[in-house]
Amino acid sequence: MIIYLRSGGKLHDLLKPDVDQYTRRVETHEGATLVEILGELGIPLVMVAFAFVDGKVRKLDYVPTDGDVITIQSPVAGG
């Protein structure tokens, strides 16, 4: 199945977007968690805090479905 990962923040360069400036098309298998998918892409998990899909915040144990557009956020703590 195909999902789309996106980031406009700090993870942008690691993600290597190919669909547009912020989005990467990823082929993966059904049942894979975000942790597994990010691992396969070589994106360090310490650099991803959470994701959001369809307007909802999701933890990294989220299991994407075909066609999901998933935005990943790095840890942010600055003030």
Binding site: G8, K10, Q73, A77
Partner: protein, 246 residues
């Protein structure tokens, strides 16, 4: 006490907003706001809250002003470098609005100090710069039933939420215990946007107008640019407010 003629003039360009009026202005004047952190976010939030007429503003930060702060911490001037932040900030806020009572606290927020520092305030504004301090503020405010307006920044990214459990998730329900891997780069425009939005959330809550970002997380990506308002939910396994929380 009724608003004075000076107050009516000073606030004339906001009191005419729908539902704000004299009542909203008086509520703001009676309010006590705790601002945790007088850095980039705290600068914007404090300036707009003082200008709007918040009656009492406590500023809590143990640091001194450094030259590298001045790209984003707009409470301070070059001549303030080396001074205690809260002292310099109090002078700036008092000159902006002499009617505001500014309480400077040159203290670090930790588990033992937080409850006494925060008690007696109507709302807390989280302008801190470490996750550890943010989680301490989160738990102390939850215990005191004080709502928190959370914001955090890195680069052109900002996050914002209105936190008041049990009606909303707490901070630890949706922010994992994962620190940024490096000290963030932060342009002043990002702290300006997010600190101003924190002031807006506080003003709405304190005056009783509009709706807050309760149970929502706003993500601002100014680089794209893109604003997302996301649903967040309480986590039953949350270490701070979940079923197993101490």
């Amino acid at each position: 006490m009724a608003l004075s003629n000076d107050e009516l003039k000073r606030y004339a360009r906001q009191m005419g907003l729908p539902h704000w009026g004299r009542n909203g202005q008086e509520r703001l004047r009676a309010a006590s706001v705790f601002i945790a952190g007088a850095g980039g976010l705290g600068s914007a939030a404090a300036l707009y809250l003082a200008a709007a007429g918040a009656g009492r503003i406590t500023l809590c930060d143990p640091d001194t002003v450094e030259l590298s702060n001045l790209n984003r911490q707009v409470l301070y001037s070059t001549s303030d470098v080396g001074r205690e932040k809260v002292t310099a900030a109090s002078e700036r806020l008092a000159s902006l609005n002499p009617a505001a009572a500014i309480v400077p606290l040159s203290e670090r927020i930790d588990t033992s100090s937080a409850p006494d520092l925060i008690a007696g305030h109507d709302i807390a504004i989280d302008c801190l710069d470490t996750l550890e301090a943010r989680f301490i503020l989160n738990r102390a405010c939850m215990a005191l039933d004080v709502p928190v307006i959370y914001a955090a920044v890195s680069g052109f990214t900002g996050q914002l939420s209105f936190i008041h459990p049990p009606a909303t998730p707490c901070l630890e329900c949706f922010i994992p215990h994962k620190n940024p891997t490096e000290k963030p780069q932060v342009p002043g425009c990002t702290t300006g946007i997010m600190g101003s939005l924190q002031a807006a959330e506080a003003i709405k809550y304190l005056t009783g107008i509009g709706s807050t970002l309760a149970s929502c997380l706003l993500i601002v990506e100014s680089m794209e640019p893109r604003f997302d308002i996301l649903e967040i939910e309480r986590d039953p396994d949350c270490p701070a407010c979940g079923n197993q929380a101490a």
